[in-house]
Amino acid sequence: MSTRGVGALLMVLIALMAIPRIIGPSWRVIAMPNQMRLIEGRLVQWESETMFRAMKAMVTDLPLAEIYPPTFAFSTDEYRAILPIFTAAVFTNVLGSFFWGSMLADLLWWWTGAMATVALLSRIGIHRGVAVIAGVFAATSPLGVAYVGSGNLHAASSLCLPIYSLLIWDVLVAKGRNPVSGGIRIGVFLLAASLTYTYQWVLIPAFGLWLAVGHRCMSRAFALLLGVTVFGGLTFVVRQILGFVGLTVTAHINDPLVVLFGRAGIEDGSSARVGVALATAVELVKHWAGQVPSVLVDTMWSYHPLMIALAVLGFASGSWQLRCWVVITSLIALAQGLIYSVPWVTMTAFPFVYGCAAHGVTAVARWGSRGWLTGEAPGSPLVRKAGSAVAVGVIIVMILATNLDLFGIDWYVVKWWGFWYVPH
């Protein structure tokens, strides 16, 4: 299938996933009706107020003090989503609607993320067809579906990991690239990642660990290290500029470091409290270790047990690079999940888990077609057609498994939002 064909397929799938949740009830409305607000006659989640506020700052002539009164500072929640907010502001200008501007921004980033999933998996040695199946899983994933229609641009943020992974991957594996040039590029990409979501926290250790098992690791390690340094420098400059014009970034309650310190009992992040926390590190490790089983269960439900089963099945037939990536990113996702066990965090390894699951689809298709057509030779046209039919069937089952709300069956929606769900 050509790149255009893949793009069109994923676009159609995303439209099928998104439109019913935009014009009908979104997952948020179903799971958390008590959190809803109204904008332009549409229901959105209360957190979207933060995003709309930043969009106002970009789009309108309202005075700064009106948008950001003293009690509502420019927060890390807005800072880490500047790029999706900017995209939404641009669409708002074109469409004249804040709601539809944010919806289009969600869809654009969602689609780009699904396309990047296909490209990334192709780069790491997965057969193109299998990568496309993984792209289909990303396009129909709860990571996008759960947020679309909520107005908080989280669909855009959650799907951006493969975009930046792909960009950094290409820099690191490019032959003959000057490591200094590569480092600068990586720094910019990490900055962009930090302004789209908080995936720089994942990308740095993931690529660092991957280097340890890769080839020619010294020059790549230098490029990555330089990239991290450039990222730190650029972040400092950007924050200084924002602070200079009155948009000092203040820690939001959902900022990863605030959450980490909060979970560790370091309420104010001061060195004294850090010392106290270090003194109780053993207790913390024991506490977190005790949570591993529940986080693993949460992770399983975030993807859906059938998806995990397919991924386990496909793990063996993936390339060594895919196996390496899925292990590394799953460990990072587990570590994050121990701190903040929400589905979008426990699904941090999603491009690679979906890659393994796509391999699982092909494995099931192979076995299934042979089972049906026992008298046929393995490579015969009939077996191949039967295999394709089985693969399509499995893919449809996987899509339906997490999207039954389209048919009025809502239990998975409630299950997915379990961490925040208040029974109602």
């Binding site: 700052a57 309108t60 960009l167 910019v188 014009v245």
Partner: protein
């Protein structure tokens, strides 16, 4: 010639900006520029990841879009974000018009872990500072009046939601909890937010009832028509930790 700026910033048809407004204009440009520069650099530095044609198109679109941001702002109407709308069929608010009217919400008993107390929360359309109040009855027992959120704990969490904290032992043995709310003193300014669908609720359409003093009706009144329809008043129960 000496100009003095009027209070509203206008003088003889010339718009003058205050220092605060100038700061804001700079801030807006900086926000857009930071975004543009980061996106632009990412696209240009993408190397072989992005084909040249794709890159050029994306960068061109980004630049044009940014020009739109800079020069075409005035026609965008800034929408209000509200908790409800009287003419909406998705989310509206209701008030209890006489002391005999009751809103009943049936919720599953929440998993409150080790919390010794629980609370009923009610979301109001807007801040309420008037003379009226809501009273809550749980499993038939009158728990008295509700308070602005946080007031029972010495906190000030605003006046657009009410809460009532009570001992969790009141829920012992219950799988589902019936919460009845009454308003002894009628006041149309005290309005409970209602979401116009009941998907996701464990009891579905049996999650909310309206008592008019004579009978129980399944659902809640719509502000626009007065008809009783399926919906969920924003009333819930959770643990206090």
């Amino acid at each position: 010639m000496h100009f003095r700026r009027s209070d509203d910033g206008w003088i003889k048809g010339i718009r003058l900006y205050s220092r605060r407004e100038v700061n804001f204009i700079v801030a807006r440009v900086v926000l857009a520029c930071v975004s543009l520069v980061v996106i632009g650099c990412t696209l240009f530095l993408g190397g072989r990841t992005l084909r040249f044609a794709t890159r050029t198109t994306l960068v061109s679109v980004t630049i044009v879009a940014s020009m739109c941001l800079a020069f075409m702002r005035d026609w965008v109407e800034v929408p209000a974000i509200s908790k409800s709308d009287a003419i909406s069929d998705q989310i509206w608010s209701i008030t209890l018009q006489n002391p005999s009217q009751v809103v009943r919400r049936v919720v599953p008993r929440p998993n409150i872990g080790l919390a010794a107390t629980v609370r009923i929360r009610v979301s109001l359309e807007v801040d309420y500072h008037g003379p009226s109040f809501l009273t809550a009855t749980v499993r038939g027992d009158d728990f008295g009046r509700m308070f602005p959120a946080g007031a029972q704990r010495g906190l000030s969490l605003g006046h657009d939601s009410l809460e009532l904290i009570f001992d969790s032992s009141a829920l012992d043995g219950l799988d589902f909890v019936e919460i009845d709310l009454r308003q002894p003193v009628p006041d149309p300014a005290l309005r409970i937010v209602v979401v116009g669908q009941s998907r996701g609720a464990e009891l579905g359409e049996n999650s909310a009832f309206f008592g008019d003093g004579f009978r129980w009706l399944r659902g809640v009144p719509v502000a626009r028509t007065g008809m009783i329809v399926s919906g969920l008043p924003q009333i819930w129960l959770d643990g206090v930790y």
